[in-house]
Amino acid sequence: MTSVDDALLAVDSVSQNFGGVQAVRDCSFVVRSGHVTGLIGPNGAGKSTLMEIIAGGLRPTRGRVVLRGEDITGKLRSTVGRMGLVRTFQTARVFPRLPLMENLLIGRQVQRGESLARAWLPPLWRAQEDELRARAEELLEEVGLSHRRDALGGELSGGQMKLLEIARALMANPTLLLLDEPIAGVNPRLVDTVVAVIERLRGRGIEVLLVEHNLSFVGRVCSDVIVMAEGTVLAQGDLDTVRADRRVIDAYLGSA
């Protein structure tokens, strides 16, 4: 078993209370390098809450989150983002009044032209801007949104927004990508696109932790699966193993 400090990402005895509700309770698991890890479990299991904690949006009531040996518990979202951990949201969050191109360009974190001094002098940032635009075009193509290039974020359908979010996250060149229900609302034909995108990430050294209810999708892309229920981890392993686990059947899958 990988220890907390060697792991890509470790969640160590994390609990999260919201008033009386304990959304996450003493939850521990380790995300291993080289795997696409799936986090599954019934509605309200605490999956999204955990994502939020990992990404820096919430400081957990107890416990810690360790990214490659560094304690990131309660760090700012922006700090965690700059460490290469980038996420999508369960309810897609695109910039509604910005065109797709701008939605994507925000994805790149360090931009020369964002400094107050350089913004007025395009020659200082044009080269990077051109490079980013070319990359954004590629990503639009990759997620199948090129034909909607001139649309504004808010004009996309729910499924298209999810695809745009994935593309925006990839603009960041993340080292760890958190996807919260990446194919919820995505047309079955485009699900293959998402699978292909995730598979290509492996080759680029981008690790993925994703939450998803669609188990056939999880079976296609995830080599490691963590099952949560009522805020804690029930089982971890490959999909077939966890599917056979008695407690997982009782809590999530239901017995046949």
């Binding site: 983002g81 910039f95 001139d150 504004l152």
Partner: protein, 337 residues
């Protein structure tokens, strides 16, 4: 007639500067600076006290500094002072400069400054304000006719407005402008991508207040006088009306809005029939602007010229008239469903 035209265009140019600055704050980032007029006043007063020197130009008045630096430094000092006060306020209010907090802070600041300035003769000569402020190239143009001088000042004002307009446009097209828009649209996402929303808000606050100060400096030089009655805190809302009518987030919209609301409506009351009692004109103007604002917010919230997109692939993308899209600036809170 020609003189009147010169005067109108000069006033429009100065007011365009006000509208551009507020547009950067309100339209780009969604920073709600409800005390904007106070920054105009700071610019005006600082310009005055850094150019008046000891001459007093025949007026008996009290004021600080007594500098007499060559033009255009007084105007620049006015802009920098306004920006400095804006940033100072921002650091004091902290709280990530969320729209609601900043609105309260700026409104209070305007009110406090107003009270202090109006009741403290030693700063800027109290409520009466400062007069006899030197105009640019006064000495060189001492013999010029009023028309010729008016024309010179018109050119100066237009040059300032044009420079600031181009700078604003460049800002909008830059990655910094994009960062600002992203913060306006969804600051949580901007944060997730490593940005600190505070940075965008501080930048917009500083730049916008600088514009306010420059405009204020030009205004006091044009009128050669400026007192408390010119910057009653509610005046800010007339500039907001100009930005909203013109088109929030659109720089040309700020120009159009300034021309229509700030100058047009004020000037049009000159041509009212004499039978209308003069004490009704001022309140009537306020009512007119209020009604205009309500009509726009109800029927055309995007304004006359909607926010145009930064040119991508050599063409513009216009905001469609899509009522489903939230209008800016729907700041700031995490709006998870």
């Amino acid at each position: 007639m020609l003189f009147y035209l010169i005067e109108i265009v000069t006033l429009i140019a100065i007011n365009v500067i006000f509208a551009l600055g507020l547009n950067i704050q309100f339209g780009y980032v969604g920073v709600l600076n409800v005390g904007y007029i106070a920054f105009v006043a700071i610019g005006a007063y600082i310009t005055a006290v850094t150019s008046l020197g000891n001459t007093e130009n025949g007026f008996t008045q009290l004021y600080i500094l007594h500098w007499n630096v060559p033009w255009p430094l007084p105007v620049l000092f006015g802009g920098l002072a306004a920006a400095a006060v804006g940033l100072l306020l921002a650091t004091v209010t902290l709280r990530n400069l969320r729209a609601d907090y900043l609105a309260i802070a700026t409104l209070s600041l305007a009110q406090v400054l107003y009270t202090i300035v109006a009741n403290n003769d030693s700063l800027f000569n109290g409520a009466q304000g400062l007069a006899g402020v030197p105009r640019p190239f006064d000495a060189q143009l001492a013999d010029a006719s009023q028309e010729v001088y008016g024309l010179v000042f018109l050119i100066i004002a237009v040059i300032f407005a044009a420079i600031l307009f181009l700078a604003t446009r460049q800002l909008q097209r830059s990655p910094l402008g994009r960062f600002m828009r992203a913060v306006r649209e969804d600051e949580v996402v901007a944060e997730s991508f490593g940005r600190r929303p505070l940075v965008a808000r501080l930048a917009a606050l500083g730049i916008g207040c600088f514009f306010a100060g420059i405009g204020g400096g030009l205004l006091i030089e044009y009128q050669t006088a400026f007192g408390s009655q010119a910057w009653f805190p509610l005046e800010t809302f007339i500039i907001f009306a100009a930005v909203i009518v013109g088109g929030t987030g659109n720089n040309l919209g700020a120009v159009v809005g300034a021309a229509i609301v700030l100058v047009g409506i004020n000037e049009s009351t000159r041509f009212l029939p004499a039978s209308i009692p003069s004490e009704l004109v001022g309140p009537g103007r306020g009512v007119l602007i209020g009604v205009l604002l309500i009509l726009f917010l109800r029927f055309r919230p995007q304004g006359l010229l909607p926010e145009t997109r930064v040119r991508l692939y050599g063409r513009r993308i216009e905001t469609p008239d899509n009522p489903e899209l939230p209008t800016p600036p729907q700041t700031a809170d995490a709006t998870t469903s």
